[in-house]
Symmetry: C2
Subunit: 324 residues, 2 copies
């Protein structure tokens, strides 16, 4: 097994070597720009790890790993336009640095480039890999649409929320592992168990993000604590709180949600206090642990050696407890 750091180096090298035509520069420069902004490269790393676990050649898996990263960055470029976000990883988003049209069109080309990369697999698995990739891509778009819908809805059910984060963020982790396993020569059953592992852990990661936004250590978390509360984001915590609140608590929450002029710190404190009364943190952590447990259960069933399972388990644990 390769060390994670070695895989990440391979990925960084491959990202740096990605090259596009010089013209039209308005189309291709934004791709190089967004790909160079960095990020943890977690998705391509998962693909390489899965390939590696089944004895596959990680170098051969690099183009499909890049496909996953290019696809992920395509979704960032288009999502940032839709969310009207000025910054991504501390730098100007593509539509800010250029303009929305450039963001749309460069994003489109990135999706095609992702397909060109994902198809660089052996004939024997080409069709299967394309199916997984396309289904994943459709899922991610559906997740983004549900997310935008939820912003306009006054009520969202927990199940609908879980399904949204599953689609928007978790299926791509599952898809990366699934494709990596197939490239490594895994059986369909093992590949599909790895998919479940990635998908369920992905849901757990997102729930962890929801929790950290309110209960995280601001120094370690790196984001403004309470940002979700301030913007009324319908996270697991808010949805669950509205579900469990009695009449008074619901009124208090809705008053803050509807407030136009408010002191941000005061709002965070007040809403957090309702969360505390309702034990929301514990409920969110329970849900998070449940999804993680389903993921680890799938991992246990894989027909690979215990030390290889341990490798993935540690990787996931590292992501799960990055902050408490």
């Amino acid at each position: 097994m390769n060390k994670l750091q070695d895989l990440q180096l391979l990925i960084e090298d491959a990202v740096n070597q990605l090259s596009f035509p010089a013209q039209p520069s308005e189309l291709y420069e934004p791709i190089t720009y967004i790909m160079a902004l960095g990020g943890k490269r977690m998705r391509p790393a998962l693909l390489l790890m899965a390939c590696d676990m089944f004895g596959g050649d990680v170098k051969k898996a690099l183009p499909p790993a890049l496909a996953i990263e290019v696809f992920h960055n395509f979704t960032l470029v288009h999502d940032d336009i839709m969310d009207n976000a000025p910054l991504r990883r501390g730098k100007a988003t593509v539509h800010e640095k250029w303009n929305p049209n450039t963001g749309i069109l460069s994003g489109d080309v990135m999706l095609v480039e992702a397909y060109k990369l994902i198809m660089q697999v052996d004939d024997s698995i080409l069709r299967r890999v394309l199916e997984i990739f396309s289904n994943t891509a459709v899922g991610v778009c559906e997740g983004q649409q549900f997310d935008m819908n939820f912003e306009q809805q006054s009520e969202v059910e927990i199940d609908a929320y879980i399904n949204m984060i599953r689609l928007k963020t978790a299926v791509l982790l599952g898809g990366a592992l699934n494709i990596g396993a197939l490239i490594g020569g895994a059986s369909d059953e093992d590949a599909s168990l790895l998919y479940t592992f990635g998908e369920q852990l992905g849901i757990a990661f997102q729930l962890q993000d929801d929790i950290l936004d309110v209960y995280g250590d601001p120094e370690k978390f790196g984001k403004q604590v309470g940002g979700d509360i301030i913007s009324n984001k319908k996270t697991f915590l808010l949805i669950k709180a509205l579900e469990l609140a009695d009449a008074d608590e619901k009124q208090a929450l809705n008053q803050w949600i509807n407030a136009v002029d408010f002191n941000a710190a005061e709002k965070v404190t007040a809403v957090t206090s309702v969360y505390n009364t309702l034990n929301i943190r514990q409920k969110a952590e329970e849900a998070m642990q449940n999804y993680a447990a389903i993921g680890f259960e799938a991992l246990d069933k894989l027909s690979i050696s215990e030390d290889k399972k341990q490798y993935l388990r540690s990787f996931a644990d590292g992501l799960m407890v990055r902050e408490k």
Copy 2:
């Protein structure tokens, strides 16, 4: 050989049977909407005709034919956002009827759906078909970017213009024929000759559009005559006129191009009169005939019976002389 009308019926049936998940409806309804707006379905028809010419089963070629039509409609949805166009085939564009975000995201899903359809070919040609499709898709995006660039440039060379229309509209015609031929069992050489036929005729069609915009019969053309002149669109005619104009003529053209307040009919008459002095119509028609001739030359070289060639020749002729 099937009659063109029969192929078009097959395509309409297949378009009507395209079905998408019910949810999220904001994502899928716009796809059904834009696909139902109609159009000539020329691209999927070309794919089926090419398949048919080589004795392939046109029913088997329907999913890839639909892929080409879904892809084409994806480009219309995104282009309409970029061009800020309110109408498409007399109906509200997707971003007008819904909103730009819906247009972006539905378009993204359409591109993925196009890939899901194009991969419904035999294993033996899957990789080749994917390569052609991806290269075509990248070309179309590059063409759109060049087109947007040209709007901002004061000078455009004829060669750059021809390359832009080749990418933006012609490569997709070539790609459709190329893929259809491969599905029909054509040799790589025949498939590539058909590509050339489609690409070169595609350039000729676009030049014909440029000519008809100025010299077409308004009743038959169905668009406002002189629309390109009014909007200063850098067509073959305007580019060629600026290239050939003497100092006085250039000044006259630039005066109209830079005019902010003007009478539209007066502008059309004045610019057309410069075109007439410079023999621009004749030059454009010569260029159009030259590209068409290269296309027909490729057609002649195909290793198929003369009556099948005649079939494609008539189809292209029908498109070329639809108005004079």
